[in-house]
């Protein structure tokens, strides 16, 4: 009796183990994986930290968190589907969040993807939500309701602030300071899409010595959101 129990347990444990091995963990053939790689002057993050130079001075980015949402899929110029419950919180400190598996059900790939950088206005007025949208993720403003669509924080030698810190918390869903941006990636023909997020595009257009702390909806925040949307590009293009 005891012998049979032991055998059964062994078979069960072996089965559970095998399910987690790459041999049995088959990738869904319909699945497409989008890898987002934040870089500054071509330099990737190491353990959630990017260290580089900006105009000859040292710069470090230690926090980079943002929402991508509302994924729409296109093939031959036509919309072929939308991701359900399409909200993704990406965090440079947690590499696993930087790869997004999407399942457009297109059979053999797709041509283009459109998504939002940030969260749309409906999401911002819909009350408490869970998962990546849980207010406990630290991406929600308590004193002026709405999601922080994008957080970027770090140090720059020329910042005249305490410890030379810069902090940009970009959000706001009401006109005229809406910050959600739409991004389109075209010419896609592979099941793995590598997207660089070149942050020099953002930093080269702002003077960190003067503009270093934004933490509420404003015209400046809306302008920075536009700049952030321009940091995305297919790797190698």
């Amino acid at each position: 009796m005891k012998y049979h129990l032991k055998i059964s347990m062994a078979i069960l444990l072996a089965g559970l183990f095998l399910l987690h091995t790459p041999l049995f963990a088959q990738q869904n053939p319909q699945e497409i994986v989008l890898h987002i790689n934040p870089i500054l002057n071509g330099k990737s993050s190491n353990d959630g930290l990017i260290i580089s130079q900006l105009n000859g001075d040292s710069i470090a980015i230690h926090t980079l968190r943002f929402y991508l949402s509302n994924f729409v899929f296109y093939k031959n110029g036509k919309e072929i589907g939308r991701e359900k419950d399409s909200y993704h919180l990406l965090d440079m400190e947690d590499e696993s969040t930087l790869s997004i598996a999407i399942n457009p059900n297109t059979g053999d790939g797709l041509g283009a993807i459109r998504f939002d950088l940030g969260t749309d206005s409906l999401t911002n007025v819909s009350g408490a939500m869970g998962g990546d949208l849980d207010p406990a993720n630290g991406m929600y403003w308590a004193w002026n309701s709405g999601y922080i669509n994008f957080k970027i924080e770090g140090y720059y030698e020329k910042c005249p602030t305490r410890n030379h810190q810069f902090q940009f918390h970009i959000g706001g869903y009401l006109p005229p300071f809406k910050t959600v941006q739409t991004i389109e990636l075209t010419g896609l023909n592979k099941r793995e899409i590598w997207v660089d997020m070149e942050l020099s595009v953002f930093f080269e257009h702002i003077d960190l010595a003067k503009e270093h702390s934004i933490m509420s909806p404003s015209k400046a925040a809306a302008n920075l959101a536009q700049l952030l949307s321009k940091t995305f590009r297919i790797h190698g293009e």
Binding site: A128, G130, L133, P135, A136, G138, W143, S145
Partner: protein, 333 residues
């Protein structure tokens, strides 16, 4: 024969476990919000947060629990006492953790299922999200929702209460906020003498009736029935308090036309919700009447007798069933 007894014990044990599991299974009991038939449909979307007995009880417990504050000294009820229309009456400006004084008078809480913007300046756009503001304010609870979630998760019997309310013993910000909203949604005040008169169950005195007519002529544009607020932001002629420099709604919209506009408060239970105005500058209803009749921006004229009659009507908005409802008070069990 020797093997039968252990097998029977085993069978009974398994049966017992199944019974315990069945008794403690997730089975929330739906609750329908009670309100007068003549009232409009609530603006709160109950499909996203259906009221349940378990959810309301959890929310009530959280409402009265100082665990929400950094040093476990301040709960929601510190400023929102049930017996005084869910506001406080002892200070003009509300005070929070470590006796820190805020910049505004805490608002009353009632009939919130019909409200879609919160705080005196409308900074909060949904009832679910309202609790985040006092939790994170350095002069109220000085905490973070992230830390509250962790503390509540570690505190018995909360994981079990969350399971029974939402089917998941893992505490999340979403469920915590939704539970609190559920309790707050039940705070319906609809049984004042005014309500009874409207239902044909009571009659105004001559003085109250005259006050009602004066109210309709002079006050009802902003304090619209049946909620006694139009839920909008208005400028009521109050001069800027230069010690506070609170410009109200303009801070949120950044529109100069919203300068000194504040949320119109309900007049229900006004007898118990003193002091009045966003900064609690008026301690008595008489002071409020004096302001409205003296403000050059409002053109309201009332004789001394009319002020008395209007006050008599305002006192008919007191709803003792609401104020002393044991379901809204501190949970003793």
């Amino acid at each position: 024969m020797g093997n039968k007894l252990p097998l029977a014990v085993l069978f009974l044990g398994i049966l017992g476990m199944v019974l315990v599991a069945a008794v403690s299974a997730y089975s929330p009991e739906p609750v329908a919000l009670k309100y007068p038939e003549s009232w409009p449909t609530p603006t709160y979307d109950f499909t996203k947060n259906p009221l349940t007995k378990q959810g309301i009880e959890l929310g009530r417990r959280l409402f009265y629990d100082p665990i929400l504050s950094k040093d476990s000294t301040i709960s929601c009820s510190s400023c929102h006492l049930s017996y005084t229309a869910f506001t406080h009456v002892d200070h003009d400006l509300s005070h929070g953790i470590a006796d820190r004084i805020g910049t505004r008078n805490s608002p009353v809480l009632m009939n919130l299922a019909w409200v879609s913007s919160f705080m005196w300046d409308g900074a909060v756009n949904h009832l679910d999200m309202q609790a985040l503001a006092p939790i994170s304010s350095p002069v109220e609870m000085d905490e973070t929702i992230e830390n509250v979630v962790k503390k509540v998760q570690r505190s018995s019997p909360y994981p079990s209460l969350f399971y029974h309310a939402f089917g998941d013993s893992t505490v999340t910000g979403e469920h915590l906020l939704k539970a609190m909203a559920q309790f707050e949604l039940t705070l319906v005040s609809a049984n004042s003498k005014y309500d009874q008169v409207k239902r044909g169950e009571a009659a105004f005195t001559g003085q109250e009736n005259n006050g009602y007519m004066l109210f309709q002529k002079n006050c009802a544009r902003c304090h619209a029935e049946p909620f006694f607020t139009n839920h909008d932001f208005e400028k009521n002629g109050l001069p800027l308090d230069t010690t506070l420099h609170d410009f109200g709604r303009m801070v949120i919209t950044q529109l100069p036309t919203d300068s000194l506009k504040f949320k119109v408060p309900t007049l229900r239970n006004i007898e118990f919700s003193y002091p009045y105005m966003h900064d609690g500058r008026f301690r008595k209803l008489g002071d409020v009447m004096k302001h409205y009749t003296q403000s050059s921006q409002l053109n309201i004229e009332l004789s001394s007798n009319e002020k008395v009659d209007l006050t008599a009507f305002l006192l008919t908005l007191t709803d003792k069933e609401f104020l002393f409802n044991p379901d809204f008070a501190f949970p003793r069990n």
